[in-house]
Symmetry: C2
Subunit: 507 residues, 2 copies
């Protein structure tokens, strides 16, 4: 990946999230502080900052402070402040207990979570926390406490109308545009499902990234309540609400380490469900190579964890382990996925992989609500047009056009077909390469960018036939996406001969 | 602890050790970078920086860069740079392998160590590394590779004269002023011992802190070689030389976490011994409550590790487990310790705890060099005045006065006696409280600051008798030290009755 970019330079002074002051070595000895200790600095107001020491960059008797901190201490350049050693927060001791493999109490977990939220823990400390969590883990009681503590860092929505159903996908599979279909079917069945989605983190297109091509996804908590209770469902963006906000702060530290500790991941998912007041939750666990969940065994372990955690949180949780060895459906990218999704709601029976996954997931939710033969009933609701009617109600409630049609969603005007150079069977489609190509084409920011994939695993292709088309909103990105596709071909084509076993012994 | 301090404020822009640039969210999507990813920034030159994202603090099309980074990229405010995603160093993958409990190869360990040295790893990554080391540890082969990699980050001193003896104390016990005595005895016996010491890290007085009261401790590698080869020994400060410099960078991250992973600690000690070319090493392991090594069992484990590591490094290592339940000798603080140390070299037989520990340690080194009955021989060298003669040679070689006398070292002019309020036996002396009082009095920066302790464990004290005297160079610090002593009394006095056992059953 990686495009380079020309930018205009501005000098600045940094980073209110982790304010650091520079003190002379001798003053540090005097005050009794070491590098990365904390000091409390008092001008007309007080603030806490981390210490960086030097015997060259700063004069004795001077403290160098970034502008944002000057402001917070109510002091100006050349003024005087009082500087005194400030103990580490108690939560640092709890982090150390997790390093030692101890079980943490509810209070300890709460204090870590609130100290992260309030910028009281440094990057060093949060990194140690996540590493300790990654290595030593948490038991299900700790994860339940962790989930509640994270939920309590933000708003908790309380619906008058009960029960509250929710749906979540662990993600990791491109083209997974089922959410608006599932929500529409479920809401059409009279079950309230205030579904909040996310934008892409590492993927090419999050649910909110394609839903916002046809309606507004930013919604505050009041609108969420009102629309859900009146219409029965939404497909909005969670990020506009203040739900478990600490999660975003943790992601920033997890990401460069390339880790997602199980406890953190489970608490992250479930805290948002607690915050939205969910009483019933279906979790889709896409499973297959190139996703977060490579095997059925791993998927089962996640399912077990999620259901155990649901029990601790008084939430009825069920899980659907779904096939994710290749993209779901044919379209990847905002407009393309929106079009494919709406076409199905309009009555199109293809791609079957999307229709079936949506009906199966919606069906489980119907059964959780006491409706028998859920999947068949879901299919009826979809086929009868009830789902489309409900979908349009939600779209309009979210500020979309009442005459929305799937064909309103158009792919990018720059496109290129990728052609099979040999005949054979599609042996595999690599999710990661599909995502890389779509991102290179500009997804999810460029709404027209993405791929249409014409052939799926196991299908026969003839040399010269189209494998997929790349779409982009401008030529440079189309070129970049094509280069990515050449470098990382997303499809393997093979003859059906997997391996020739010879009876002649190897010499 | 913790004194507060008035300082003049200067606005600044931060921190060349971990340069961070601020980019707009949309530009980040375009470039394909997330928070705490790296970008390569090219003006007339290139540099790598970490990414911080915002959609409010920075305009689209703009990169905000601290002044030091502008300089390194050869660009000025308002100029243009090229910004492109830059992969994490490979060492991040090795850090993750250590998180997963894997054994790292020599090459992986080297790359982590050099990337830390060259500021290529962020605080987040170094913190994760140390946490993983703390939890998952290293086997002795890895620690040997780690030791060599750390040594190779700096200069390696090669002595013409061989063998090279060295001495190290794990520290943690106040008043441990034996180093100049040990070095003087050993060098007087014709054995070369180029001993490098440190300043206080968390203690009240490191060896270099009191040695510098009577001679210069800053010495470059050439002087170290010359003086050691001519005179037979030094007691200089290691910090003036470029020996295993990566260690200081790691300490800054370890310190706020309050951890010292075994592998890091062993490699840290041994890398400096490798760098100084030691062929023979005695390690003093002070053991007792309130030190780094609480029990004999833990001390034995450290000794085993150090000797195994010595074998891998082709270094003859022996260990002395020493008693450290209370301060060594009576004096704590720079001038006070220097005076007590020099008095012993001048012929004073007290305090016996210092004399005996010094002769026992020197004796082991003599035996390592093939001299029988080491301890007795060391005592002869001390009693005969040969050690004092050698001591004065070293002092003069380090720029000290040839007429140096112990009484040249005077305690601070402000003092206060602390009196026993009841009669009884000294039941315990708390090292940590002794250190806290000496630091409150101004040690190690104020050379006259410290304590003289008159009574040790098990001795009888009468009400009204002096327990210890606090010395300081100014009144405010004397007051602060007294307050510390009142709050954290360093001595427990008890009647000899430990517990009364009654035959009357408890109701």
């Amino acid at each position: 990946m990686g495009i380079d970019m020309k930018l205009i330079v501005k000098n600045y002074d940094i980073d209110a999230s982790e304010p650091t002051v520079l003190l002379h070595d001798n003053d540090c000895l005097e005050i009794g502080v070491k590098e990365n200790d904390r000091v409390s600095i008092t001008g007309s107001r007080s603030a806490v900052a981390l210490v960086s020491r030097s015997d060259t960059l700063v004069e004795e008797g001077t403290v160098m402070m970034p502008a944002a901190l000057l402001e917070r201490c109510g002091v100006t350049d050349g003024g005087e402040v009082n500087v005194v050693y400030c103990q580490n927060p108690d939560s640092v001791r709890s982090i150390r207990r997790k390093m030692d493999g101890e079980k943490l109490s509810k209070e300890e977990i709460e204090s870590i979570v609130t100290d992260i939220l309030n910028n009281k823990l440094s990057k060093i400390e949060i990194s140690a926390w996540l590493t300790a969590l990654y290595i030593n883990g948490m038991d299900i009681d700790e994860i339940a406490d962790f989930t509640k503590a994270m939920a309590n860092t933000g708003d908790i929505i309380e619906f008058e109308r009960q029960p509250v159903f929710d749906f979540h996908s662990l993600g990791g599979v491109p083209g997974n545009k089922i959410t608006p279909i599932v929500v529409s079917i479920v809401a059409a069945a009279g079950i309230m499902i205030p579904k909040l989605s996310s934008r892409a983190i590492s993927s090419a297109c999050g649910t909110s990234d394609f839903v916002e091509t046809f309606c507004n996804v930013e919604m505050d908590a009041d609108s969420l309540k009102r629309v859900s209770e009146e219409v029965g469902g939404v497909f909005a963006w969670g990020g506009a609400m203040n739900l478990a906000p600490v999660d975003d702060m943790v992601i920033k530290i997890e990401h460069p380490l390339g880790i997602n500790p199980r406890a953190q991941m489970l608490a992250s998912i479930m805290s948002k469900k607690v915050a939205v007041g969910a009483t019933h939750l279906l979790v889709d666990i896409p499973t297959g190579s190139g996703t977060k969940v490579p095997t059925i065994e791993v998927a089962r372990a996640y399912a077990r964890d999620l259901m155990d955690l649901g029990e601790k949180l008084d939430m009825h949780v069920e899980c659907a382990i779904t096939y994710a060895d290749q993209p779901v459906g044919n379209a990847v990218g905002p407009n393309l996925e929106a079009r494919e999704c709406i076409r199905i709601l309009e009555g199109n029976k293809h791609p079957a992989s999307v229709v079936e996954k949506a009906c199966d997931c919606a069906g489980i939710i119907l059964e959780m609500a006491g409706i028998p033969n859920g999947s068949a009933r879901a299919r009826e609701i979809l086929d009868s047009g009830e789902a489309h009617k409900k979908f349009m109600e939600i779209v309009v409630a979210q500020g979309g056009r009442p005459d929305l049609k799937s064909d309103d969603l158009v792919p990018g005007q720059y496109s290129e077909d990728i052609i099979a150079t040999k005949s054979g069977y599609i042996h595999s489609i690599h999710n990661k390469d599909v995502v890389a190509i779509a991102k290179a084409a500009g997804a999810p920011n460029d709404k027209g960018a993405g791929l249409m994939i014409y052939l799926k695993k196991g299908q026969r292709v003839e040399a010269g036939e189209k494998l997929f088309t790349i779409y982009a909103d401008n030529e440079a990105k189309l070129r970049r996406a094509r280069e990515t596709a050449m470098k990382y071909p997303p499809m393997d084509i093979e003859g059906m001969l997997i391996k020739r076993v010879s009876s002649v012994p190897v010499r």
